[in-house]
């Protein structure tokens, strides 16, 4: 019983440590922009092939979210969809478990 919440505790510590690491990095590292690693990667591709990022054109025409707001809206929708799935199923399982206990 003493170890009942070991995993919860570990997860809590990991998340706090992660936040602390972020605060430390953003405070001490100069030039840390926290851009997406995808974009940093694209920068390196441009460097290796000796051109600029702007020279890379999509092979298949692509719709781009017109602004960061719209992009974050769509990302939030994606996460919300996942959240609904998880919450719904866990609720369903909880109900099933309850009913088994009653019967």
């Amino acid at each position: 019983m003493a170890y009942r919440y070991t995993l919860e505790l570990l997860a809590g510590i990991a998340i706090v440590a992660f936040c602390a690491l972020f605060l430390y990095t953003s405070a001490t590292m100069s030039g840390a922009e926290f851009a997406g690693s995808d974009n940093v990667g694209s920068g390196l591709i441009a460097e290796l092939s000796g051109t600029t990022v702007e020279n890379f054109q999509p092979l298949i025409a692509q719709w781009e979210p017109p602004s960061g707001e719209i992009e974050s809206c769509l990302f939030a929708l994606q996460a919300a969809f996942g959240g609904i799935l998880i919450g719904g199923v866990f609720g369903f399982w909880l109900g099933q478990a309850r009913r088994r206990n009653v019967e």
């Binding site: 690491l21 690693s37 999509p58 994606q78 969809f81 866990f90 478990a97």
Partner: protein, 230 residues
């Protein structure tokens, strides 16, 4: 881990699509067969797939001063194996390339290979290795999740290094450069993701142990041991 649209030469796009397509078809076939046998597997698929949706939308800051996102493929890999996981990943990646300009249709094959196939395959290998040993199931879940996440980014680095070998040092030096961007950023994220998904697995074990036993994900003894100890 997204390779951006236009940033991969078309020859490589074709090659990675050729690798990805058979895996996707196998995944769709396995999924259909699984759901014909056991409709309740759909609930577990909902939870494990839901985590891929959520975690792959979270762009988190990391030690290198750039942001990256976890993949969340570990639970699905353990529950259904790499091929079904590849199908779920393909859906997420398709959404992101159509609406978010993250990745794109031509590079979708390459992105499916890294996030949906190689990462989960490595994770699945670890799971098969540890499943029948006495290793605690939460440690197994942690390792599978963290390694599936890490190897997704190692694969992205590999794909880019193959397409863009450096002028001096060739493939190897360019692989090291890409690893510096993708893999190093990913280390803390992979560790946190592993712990969080191990915690989620604990709740699945607590609420719905029968589905894990029926799908033969872990043996009944191991599930019962895990239920009593945590």
């Amino acid at each position: 881990m997204h390779i951006m649209e236009g940033f991969l030469p078309w020859q490589w796009c074709v090659i990675w699509w050729i690798v990805a397509l058979p895996c996707l078809m196998l995944g769709i076939y396995q999924l259909k067969k699984l759901l014909d046998i056991d409709r309740e597997a759909l609930t577990l698929l909902g939870v494990t797939g839901g985590f891929i949706f959520i975690l792959s939308s979270l762009k988190l800051p990391s030690v290198t001063g750039s942001c990256s996102h976890p993949t969340g493929t570990g639970l699905s890999t353990i529950s259904f194996g790499p091929w079904i996981t590849a199908v779920v990943c393909a859906i997420v990646l398709l959404f992101q390339s159509l609406f978010l300009a993250h990745g794109g249709l031509s590079v979708l094959g390459a992105n499916i290979v890294s996030m949906g196939i190689v990462g989960p395959c490595v994770g699945y290998g670890v799971y098969r290795l540890l499943r029948d040993t006495s290793v605690n199931i939460y440690i197994t879940v942690f390792l599978v999740t963290a390694l599936a996440d890490m190897f997704t980014y190692v694969t992205t680095s590999l794909e880019l290094a193959l397409a863009y070998p450096a002028e001096t040092g060739g493939f190897v030096s360019s692989f090291i450069l890409f690893m510096g961007i993708f893999a190093v950023t990913q280390i803390p994220l992979a560790i946190v993701e592993g712990i969080v998904l191990a915690l989620v697995f604990k709740y699945i074990v607590a609420l719905k142990p029968d589905i894990l036993i029926r799908l033969k994900i872990f043996s009944e003894e191991k599930i019962n041991a895990a239920r009593s100890e945590c």
